[in-house]
């Protein structure tokens, strides 16, 4: 049977770089899989030696890797209520799960920065320690709810969920993920960057952001935004609300909601974008140094400057 010509659009599907944390998890798992039987010596072979038929080890299957390594990095785990699956500490690759009546607390530590914060694990939550190395502490939230309070330098602590990665920028926040991978980030102190596949949402204290698989982060909004704005935004982000939903957001927006409108600017195009721009400028006059043309063309530096000026009104 003749294969049809591949859809041209498949060309636009990018090859995605595998995260570095995967290799660390593999190494950790290999280190942990020690066989009780005879263990082969660890060998470091120079490239030229591959061609030499010199067998000095015996393969022993799954547990055949042994290397002298420093102890695996770990976070301390305390039970708050009920029963949990891990006690005392959690190491890279370990899962921690709470049931309906249990809660736990993880103390985050970083070799370079020391203790950097805590994560409270709510009932019915499943998390995994993904990576722990100087400058990168990473947790996966498979489902449930966590509350993080972090005092580390920015971009040191990460939470992976099915629909986004939350990048700590010095803050306290709550992150939820349901069984279908839908998420909700609520920031109470500082701010968090939500990132997925090149899409980013910057969420400051007092604001929230929803996430959906295959879409990533929605558009951030402040807690005290009107319900009508929140509903219209949900429709726009996830239910195909289109222009009418965007217009409803514009109609409901206050000065503080320029957080939402600024993000919306790069999520619409053409006349919709012009209307978003006009509404922002109606609410807060365009700051010095921000060119209207460049803003509408989504020039990165212009948008950054505009955001930094708008932030004084949030």
């Amino acid at each position: 049977m003749k294969e049809p010509a591949p859809n041209n659009q498949l060309r636009d599907l990018p090859l995605v770089k595998a995260p570095d944390a995967i290799w660390e998890s593999i190494e950790a798992a290999m280190d942990a899989s020690l066989d009780a039987g005879p263990k082969p010596k660890w060998t470091w072979r120079p490239v030229w030696a591959w061609g030499i038929a010199a067998v000095v080890l015996a393969a022993v299957g799954a547990g055949a890797w042994l290397i002298t390594r420093p102890p695996r990095a770990a976070w301390a785990v305390d039970r708050i209520d009920g029963k949990i699956t891990e006690h005392g500490k959690i190491e890279v690759g370990d899962w921690l799960q709470t049931d309906a009546s249990s809660r736990a607390r993880i103390t985050l530590s970083d070799a370079g920065a020391g203790d950097i914060g805590t994560i409270e694990i709510a009932p019915n939550t499943r998390v995994r320690m993904v990576a722990s190395r100087p400058g990168e502490q990473r947790l996966r939230l498979a489902r449930g709810e966590i509350s993080a309070r972090v005092s580390a330098p920015p971009r040191l602590f990460f939470v992976d969920t099915p629909a986004s990665t939350a990048v700590d920028l010095g803050c306290a926040y709550t992150m939820k993920a349901d069984q279908d991978g839908n998420g909700l980030l609520s920031v109470t102190l500082g701010w968090v960057s939500l990132e997925w596949a090149g899409r980013e949402a910057l969420v400051p204290a007092g604001a929230n952001c929803r996430t959906r698989p295959m879409i990533g982060p929605g558009t951030p909004y402040f807690d005290d935004a009107s319900q009508a704005l929140k509903d219209a935004l949900g429709s726009f982000d996830f239910d195909g609300g289109g222009t009418s939903a965007a217009d409803a957001v514009l109609a409901e927006a206050r000065v503080r909601d320029t957080l939402t409108l600024w993000h919306l600017l790069s999520r619409v195009e053409g006349t919709d974008r012009q209307r978003v721009y006009n509404r922002i400028v109606d609410l807060v006059p365009l700051p010095k140094g921000v060119s209207p043309d460049k803003a509408l063309q989504l020039d990165r530096e212009t948008l950054k400057l505009w955001r930094e000026e708008l932030a004084w009104k949030w």
């Binding site: 498949l10 072979r45 999520r267």
Partner: protein, 186 residues
């Protein structure tokens, strides 16, 4: 540190080195295939980065556990992607049914600061991802294997443990369904 290998040039020496516990050699194998395996997993699991990371880890751990059994009758890529197929199918069986996002209006995928000329491309990628996600598993997987690794029909048949005719049929139907989905998203 072992330098990078081209995708299809896995020599018997490297396989042998892996069997003997050479972590450098295994790292070279990993580096040669990690992005393709991860990308296939990512698009297969509806963009769930955590699930894709888990599956990638699982595949490579399984690889090192069973490399002693690799005899070289099939090419290495065929053997590796058999592990990928099995892991994807296992994951799909475990996961809850998920409503596809195929009908969602394509929102601007570009983050703050993206340029106009990337906007259309990002929208298209988003449509393709949504359309792929809507395909049944048995059509989604061969399309991903074909697109990312360009396996031959014979290699795909060996990886998927089916006949070449079945591979051809699934590719054909999968492409048609993809085209229909993309048309409906315009």
């Amino acid at each position: 540190m072992v330098t990078g290998l081209s995708d299809r040039e896995i020599s018997a020496d490297i396989i042998e080195s892996c069997r003997l516990g050479d972590r450098d050699a295994f790292r070279a194998l990993y580096e040669a295939y990690k992005d393709k395996v991860y990308s296939i997993a990512l698009y297969f699991f509806h963009g769930d980065e955590a699930a894709a990371s888990d599956m990638t880890q699982q595949v490579f751990l399984k690889l090192i556990q069973s490399i002693a059994q690799f005899r070289g009758e099939a090419g290495f890529a065929t053997w590796l992607y058999r592990l990928v197929v099995n892991a994807c199918m296992d994951g799909a069986r475990r996961a809850k049914p998920r409503e596809a996002a195929a009908n969602a209006t394509v929102d601007a995928l570009a983050g703050p600061g993206s340029q106009e000329h990337d906007f259309a491309r990002e929208e298209t990628a988003r449509s393709v991802r949504a359309a792929l996600s809507a395909l049944p598993v048995k059509f989604r997987l061969p399309i991903l294997l074909r697109y990312f690794e360009e396996l031959s029909y014979g290699e795909m048949a060996a990886a998927m443990n089916c006949s070449m005719g079945t591979v051809a049929s699934r590719l054909n139907r999968g492409h048609k369904m993809l085209a229909q989905k993309l048309e409906s998203l315009r």
